[in-house]
């Protein structure tokens, strides 16, 4: 059985693209800004990989639009926001995620968790 951090990484891997689309849907964001938004919600990028290859894939698949703009007094940054295809993918993905989450909850909900102190 996978240890806690490893399972968390594996769970996150399947939905990280949705999370990125969701945070950039709140407003255009550059790479590090997205990790900050994720972190504010308790989603730290740990374990394997990072968001950059994933952003590259979203860009290649036409799910995001990009533009360059100056950040707050800093150098120009590449800002991402969902394209119309990206918003559709986000909506479908969220629907799939909720269905999967509900199914897993139905199985796991009866389990009583006792944490030994």
């Amino acid at each position: 059985m996978a240890p806690g951090p490893q399972r968390r990484t594996e769970l996150l891997r399947g939905v990280l693209d949705l999370c990125l689309l969701a945070v950039m849907d709140e407003g255009p964001a550059y790479g590090y800004e997205m990790t900050k938004r994720l972190r504010e919600r308790g989603l730290a990028i740990v374990g394997e990989g990072s968001i950059y290859p994933l952003l590259g894939r979203l860009e290649r698949d036409g799910l995001v639009e990009t533009h360059r703009a100056a950040s707050n007094g800093g150098p120009p940054r590449k800002y991402y926001r969902p394209s119309s295809a990206g918003r559709l993918a986000l909506a479908l993905g969220v629907s799939e995620w909720r269905a999967a989450r509900d199914s897993v909850d139905a199985v796991l909900a009866p389990v009583k968790v006792e944490v030994a102190s």
């Binding site: 990072s50 894939r57 290649r60 940054r77």
Partner: protein, 178 residues
């Protein structure tokens, strides 16, 4: 931080990523790393385990962007020589066996020539019984040996195919790490 970016830049150069794209990615990465450092966020927190492997990180990023072809899956790379070696060995063994059969003629594996054997003489004691017709199948020693030749031909073709596969595999192997 800058060392990490420089290693990424070197990997993109090695992989043939166009300079404008490499510069764009390097600039974005350097800015993000600098901002993270100012916030007290480590490179590992930003990049995960990729923080310790800039070359793989750079290659993965470029591949996901579609700038370079996806790197081949490692398990296939490892398994391919074994499959190829087995295929080549089978072809070589077949070639040797076919050649030996042709050279020695033993055991003769040939298509049998069938023909109707000599009819027995008609016996007037039982004239109502029609004379039996025996189909005598004989191995014709003078017949050609097509099975051996077919085996030989197949083995040669298979060895040629194996040679081509080995050559193409050798060309597709990534260069050794410097």
């Amino acid at each position: 931080m800058s060392d990490f970016v420089e290693q990424c830049r070197g990997e993109w150069r090695r992989l043939g990523v166009p300079d404008p794209l490499a510069e764009e990615m390097a600039a974005d990465l350097a800015s993000d790393l600098a901002e993270a450092e100012a916030d007290g966020v480590s490179a590992e927190e930003l990049l995960g385990s990729s923080a310790f492997d800039p070359r793989s990180f750079a290659a993965a990023w470029a591949a996901e962007r579609g700038i370079i072809p996806d790197p081949p899956a490692r398990p296939n790379t490892r398994r391919r020589p074994l499959v190829l070696a087995a295929f080549t060995a089978v072809a070589a063994i077949t070639l040797v066996v076919a050649a030996l059969l042709l050279a020695t003629g033993q055991p003769r594996v040939s298509l049998a020539a069938s023909r109707t054997g000599p009819r027995l003489p008609f016996t007037p004691a039982n004239p109502l019984v029609p004379p039996p017709t025996h189909r005598i199948v004989q191995a014709d020693a003078s017949a050609s040996a097509p099975v051996e030749w077919i085996l030989l031909f197949l083995a040669v073709v298979a060895l040629g195919f194996a040679a081509w596969l080995w050559t193409s595999w050798g060309r597709s192997r990534p260069p050794a790490a410097v």
